[in-house]
Amino acid sequence: MSQSKTGSLDRRGFIKGAAAGAVAASTPGTVHAQDDHQDIPSDPALRVKALESLLVEKGLVDPAALDALVDTFENRVGPRNGAEVVARAWLDPAFKQRLLDDGTAAIAELGFSGWQGEKLTVVENTPDVHNVIVCTLCSCYPWPLLGLPPTWYKSAAYRSRAVIDPRGVVRELGLELPDDIEVRVWDSTADSRYFVLPERPAGTESMSEDELAALVTRDAMVGVAKVASPAVGVGA
């Protein structure tokens, strides 16, 4: 299912090199990174450092505020939050109903709220309906429940193809959807953010909330995978 990590890194490296070249070429008076006389460095890390130190010097940015935000994204939000919501919905039918009726209010019961989750719509996968989330215009994503989107979600390939060929895209990611299932694609281009409530897999009847949450993956909550049954080990 996963492509080779080395391949992706090589590709990223190539893209970065090309982009740095493009920036250098399009910025008058800018030369390559190894030249000591450049005005604006073409390497993104150096350009960010230059901008941050200027903004700090001008009193416009408090570096501690940046540290706090980075720490939050790296350590406090992420798909584990969404998995907790899914496990609760599987065990508590009243909570599930509230979640489908008003996602924002229901996740706040579990302590989740905030930026990119202010208007949350939860869509339910069933044996008859499969939902897939995308943002074709940028990369809108329900931050409070899933954290920041992965690279593939932000890729031009996913953004362009998920709407015209959702079945092909999920097949490429390892999920074959039968012809008789209805596929609903949700393009998150306005203020609403979307979140998929996956189907509870068979063989989980006696599992606790924590055990259930451990089964739920990011991909299942975006709708490009199903939650695997623990007995089988792979998605049905």
């Binding site: 299912m1 992706s8 990223r12 893209i15 970065k16 920036v23 604006i40 993104p44 890390a45 350009r47 960010v48 450092k49 230059a50 901008l51 200027l54 903004l55 010097e57 001008k58 009193g59 416009l60 940015v61 408090d62 505020a65 940046l66 540290d67 935000l69 980075v70 994204f73 790296e74 706040a108 709220s113 905030g114 930026w115 202010e118 074709t136 215009l137 940028c138 954290g147 920041l148 690279t151 593939w152 890729s155 031009a156 390939a157 996913y158 362009s160 193809r161 709407v163 015209i164 895209v169 012809d179 209805e182 596929v183 609903r184 694609v185 949700w186 393009d187 281009t189 203020d191 609403s192």
Partner: protein, 214 residues
């Protein structure tokens, strides 16, 4: 704007580059860029700026390289920093401080806040649930949240989302234009023709200005 960012329905844009798990930020500078964009008062025009990156560069750049390019442009456009300061890398000692820095506490509160919405719910709705509507054939040269694949296509109003500011007006003389937003369902066949499954649909929220009765 009919620029490369509006890519829904295009083909031939490369690989998904799927990874089962990856860090939130691949390199430390990406986190700094993300956080700077969140604490600086640069929202107005941010998307217009990203969408103005020439197509070839947009596709070559990584996600955060686009943000970084946009940050540089926006700090100048919003008057926070001058081009001379960027070129020299040093603050002009005589420059006025345009705004005060957001504290760590305020930054985190921003992340957690629940936005107050529906401040003007008495605005009348033009369309009603179940109504047949068509995506208008508009081609603004500025930011819009109407993807071009919906233009001229017929869909149905599934839900009235209440009112929200029209993003198209963000950089206009009337930036706070409130109107209803509707959840619209288009059949996959209406959008993509016979090759699409007759069972499938696409759902998208659309501002009133994007729609006309059909």
């Amino acid at each position: 704007m009919n620029s490369i960012h509006d890519m829904g329905g295009m083909q031939g844009l490369g690989e998904l580059d799927y990874q089962e798990s990856e860090p939130m930020f691949h390199e430390p500078w990406e986190g700094r860029v993300h956080a700077m964009a969140m604490v600086l008062p640069l929202f107005r025009g941010f998307r217009t700026e990203i969408e103005s990156i020439p197509a070839a560069e947009y596709l070559r750049m990584s996600y955060y390289e686009r943000w970084l390019t946009t940050l540089y442009a926006q700090v100048v456009k919003h008057g926070l920093v001058t081009t001379e300061e960027i070129e020299s890398g040093r603050a002009d000692p005589d420059s006025a401080k345009a705004t005060s820095a957001v504290t760590p506490e305020a930054a985190l509160a921003r992340l957690r806040r629940i936005r107050q919405s529906d401040e003007a719910t008495d605005i009348p709705a033009k369309f009603s649930v179940g109504q047949r509507v068509r995506g208008r054939n508009i081609n603004p040269t500025w930011h819009t949240r109407m993807p071009r694949y919906t233009r001229g296509k017929i869909g149905f109003v599934e839900r009235d989302r209440g009112v929200a500011y029209l993003p198209d007006n963000e950089t206009s003389a009337d930036p706070r234009k409130l109107q209803h937003v509707y959840l619209i369902r288009f059949t996959a066949r209406e959008l993509w023709g016979e090759q699409a499954s007759p069972r499938d649909s696409l759902y998208i929220d659309m501002w009133e200005d994007y729609l006309e009765p059909a």
